[in-house]
Symmetry: C3
Subunit: 451 residues, 3 copies
């Protein structure tokens, strides 16, 4: 439960708000690289943190991210022509480059144009391409921080898959779904009697997600223990969120998520050798967000079968149209099937990503956290909120929030493991990751390179 003021602080991200400034102090993904494929290609609209911008790839291959308002008379540069090092306004031909500089004012006498200089500049944000996303730095502090050394981006493109998905609610409640692993005991559960049926229905309702990463055992452990024990640890770039459930005799099933500043979450299911998944929640405005999604395997290229699954709604990916709009959405009640809800799975909705979206959206456009009854299984959610509010306040007070000065601290993993019931979190982390906080030590067998 939060006070009204804290709920506002957590959820509001326009320029000038504490949380908005926190997001702006990090590099954040704003596009898939594939959305601006061509040099001198058409501009695309980008709305991020409440700001309406356009992006285009210039003649050098740099992705420009600029305010779309021509400084001459305010025409929208979205209708402009991207040509030879910048975009030219369609009204009177003023031309702007990726740094926002006005390169040409053909309707102005050259001496006036020269004199205007800085006054004609428009707002522009630096970008980088990293892990097949376009990242932007929208902050004021200089120099910009380093790019976060997230593993999916460090690997060769063959080892990762990336996409994005639209969600119709505030970023924070979507992110809370990522740090809350307790909901697996309900939201994603099949409705079944025997174990065989359980595995089969789980595979069906989650589009093979469970089949690949979870056995009937895993599903059963989650169903049978609805009160996982939560433990949270801070590290250089964020939080480790671990939850353990009773498993076989003398064993616990641990699921360990990562939350990295300002809004990256790694899922807790992957066991050693399996493919990892992550999500990054980036506000479009305070009532909708783009969730950037990525999967990676540090030890091998992803298979065609994996990619096909991700493209058709497997793992953290929903079924989507060509504009990354989920086919199951707020407007059609996620195609909920009440017959399926009675006899197949707990929601009547197909797909893990879709189930998450449905229940997160259902908390409202912006969840009201002033009326809640949190318990021990909500510790992850509570710590996430506290962590974000503290970071925003730290930044506002002139300090440096977590991860900003330590790009290497982003090289971590999350995942699952079955461990002896008497093992503590540190021991379990070392068993699973070789490090008590999930940090990766790059080895010769893991290629480190990216576009």
């Amino acid at each position: 439960m939060l006070s009204h003021e804290d709920n506002l602080m957590l959820t509001r991200t326009n320029a000038g708000t504490p949380m908005g400034e926190l997001f702006r102090s990090y590099w954040i993904p704003v596009l898939l690289s594939q959305e601006v494929p061509e040099r001198d290609g058409p501009p695309v609209r980008v709305k991020v943190l409440g700001e309406e911008l356009i992006a285009f790839r210039d003649s050098e291959g740099t992705v420009a991210l600029i305010e779309p308002r021509c400084s001459h008379r305010g025409a929208n540069l979205f209708f402009g022509r991207n040509e030879g090092g910048g975009i030219r306004c369609a009204y009177h031909g003023w031309k702007f480059d990726a740094r926002g500089e006005c390169l040409d004012m053909p309707t102005m006498p050259s001496e006036t144009a020269a004199r205007l200089g800085e006054k004609a500049r428009i707002r522009a944000y630096p970008t980088r391409e990293w892990g097949d996303f376009v990242w932007a730095y929208m902050g004021a502090r200089q120099p910009a921080p380093e790019l976060p050394q997230m593993e999916f981006a460090l690997l060769p493109a063959s080892h990762r898959h990336v996409s994005k998905k639209f969600q119709e609610c505030n970023w924070a409640q979507a992110a809370e779904g990522g740090v809350d692993t307790a909901h697996f005991s309900f939201l994603h559960q099949p409705v079944a009697s025997g174990d065989d049926e359980l595995a089969e229905k789980a595979a069906r309702a989650t589009r093979g997600y469970s089949q690949k990463t979870m056995s009937a055992d895993h599903v059963r452990w989650m169903r049978d223990d609805a009160r996982p024990r939560y433990e949270v640890r801070k590290h250089g770039s964020g939080l480790v969120l671990a939850a353990s459930r009773r498993a076989g005799p003398g064993e616990h099933y641990w699921r360990i998520a990562q939350y990295l500043m300002p809004a990256h979450g790694y899922t807790p299911s992957a066991t050693e050798g399996q493919t990892y998944h992550g999500q990054t929640w980036i506000p479009i405005d305070d009532e909708s967000c783009w969730i950037y999604v990525y999967s990676w395997n540090p030890t091998r290229p992803l298979t065609d079968e994996e990619r096909a699954s991700y493209r058709s709604g497997g793992a953290v990916y929903p079924e989507m149209d060509a504009n990354w709009m989920p086919l199951r959405h707020r407007g059609n009640d996620y195609l909920i099937d009440r017959r399926m809800q009675r006899s197949e799975n707990f929601t009547g909705i197909v797909g893990v990503s879709e189930q998450d979206a449905a229940i997160q959206d259902s908390q409202g456009r912006i969840a009201d956290r002033t009326r809640e009854l949190l318990g021990p299984t909500d510790i992850g959610v509570a710590q996430f909120r506290r962590f974000m509010l503290d970071a925003a306040k730290t930044l506002a007070a002139g300090g440096t929030p977590p991860g900003l000065a330590d790009a290497a601290a982003y090289h971590v993993r999350g995942g699952g493991i079955v461990a002896p019931a008497d093992a503590g979190l540190e021991e379990v982390m070392k068993m699973r990751f070789g490090d008590e906080l999930g940090r990766v030590r790059a080895t010769a067998s893991e290629p480190v390179a990216s576009r």
Copy 2:
């Protein structure tokens, strides 16, 4: 004409408003029983008096009407699973029954769950099924009043037909259309020269309504006397609204409507032995309402022909889609046909219900009653407003508004009759209903039973 303040009081029905509290002090229909047909079936959304609720039929057959916000973390119970005595939230499995009690908090330690108890309860309203509607009592006073002894509900199901229809304006101006019988001289009139043509066109434009309940004589009397004499009488549950027009030599044609608290209206056309019709105006919010409609015959089962007519737009029923949305509505100008308006009927719109909706909606989402010019034919409308405002003030002052303590006073009828020109209202009422206020004395020949 009303002051701005009185217009606000008449039309605003959210919780805490005087009119909103008046509605909440009575049982009011909130669904058709057929909308929640199955025990443990899917929940449906219900919006009433500005409150967003859900309804579902539980394992015992009781219809639950509850606030849809899970008290754990605010997920919407609409996506929940209706199972074994309550609905279970799809996020973390908290379960609520028809009284709003939290039956299960599987993510909470049992001692915490026990301690929370009342704090975990959600808002819930008691319901009853009566006359094939689901009625709710949303008021604070205890005990709840008795169900209104309306005749359609007292009869066996074979003797009645019920439905509902959506309307896109404030409840009060729709209700005013029900108490205003003067508009029959225009709004529902055919445009014709001779009597034969008159009857034929009236039947066509009103989908047989006039043909069945009104002769060419009735239509002509209404056309020829646009200034009916109004008389209004109060009774135990509401108002009798009588209007008389000149008919044949030495005769008057009386049309007598009933308005029952808080928002039921009976139509004034039925002559002895004919089928009666009623409408109940229930605000969804202050700019739209559900109108519950019902037809009944005290002396015989309704015929298949009658039911077929009601399902296809006869009497007080519009042509509708499967969701009770009229096919002719604000968004398509009620399919007004200007050629028909010139030569067939006064509006160019087909259907009595559609004609009413068109003209009532046209007064605005919420009619502005501060600019009006009322005359003697508007006495019914004026008295209705005064009656409602007085009742709201009575309740607010701690008193008991009409009908609340006298469920039997709802057993009344409205209808039409031709009487000698010198007969007064009391005499006419006795001629038509055997009672000066239209009250029904149940006889052995009229079965009294309902679901």
Copy 3:
């Protein structure tokens, strides 16, 4: 650049605003005559300057323009029946004529009706038909001014073509597009290398507009000189806005537009003998407008080919549906074709009118003029603003704004000419129009008559 206050004054046109009162002090077009073709025909909705009205042609052929709210109980007269000298409300039959007078109150006793008289009147505006438009005078000052003696209206119907088009932005930025001839160097330019290709592509992208009124020479001159020299002169009804570009050796290409109060603009392209075009920007509300468009040839009837071109998107006309809604609009990004933008024309949008709409709409629903960088080519725009603001202030101070007392001053023309480089504006105007301000002296060869 304008102050925030001046931008508000320029763009706000509701009743009571300075610019709104300025518009109301002139006759302005509110409909095409063809929209109310029939006597006693159906009423149509008209929204103008933020006022919601209805229009209908009465039995005498006069077009009524009235407030649609029945003074009895506020039903909308749009649903009324237009019959015998007025429109009758569908609710209770009150009837109103073109002057707003209540002719009949059938539900009222005759003595009450007589007493009410003026109180029952509704708002009504006088109209005239002129040049196949319905014009209204919505001002308070009496007597109303004379109708503006615009040439297209003075000619026989055979010599003109009229239409209208919907645009989704404030009137003033659309009008600015009309007085700004500098944008021809970009917005409407083909992208081509050689002259032959230039002419061909210009014809294609502008749907023959350039082909007919501009040679490849004209197009090239506009492309090659992006900084036309502007000169502006005031006259009795508005402004002459002239811009000259370098043309052949020792020659200048002059394009001379007219802006007439309150919101008429004549295009600058027509050379002697060619067909003229005009546009009149009339606010629907402050975020959209109807642009009334007209073409005329003073010396001959328009050809079938010309009319066919105007109906299919030539000249100042966009491709439209039957309701004058352009097929290319804000909601579909004007069907911008990025491939075409790369290799055919500067916008990738087909049609001069569509290109104008796209870039004007792109300035926002209401352009923000507090952030601009105006230069010498924006002199026309700057003077237009100053002229309008001055006129609004003149009116507010009790004075007479330009043109109001001089209907004959509207008989002017705009157009283009190639002139010796050393000729001044006055000389050029005389060469092109026989008058230094473009005024027309009617001759025997030019018929003066209209409907």
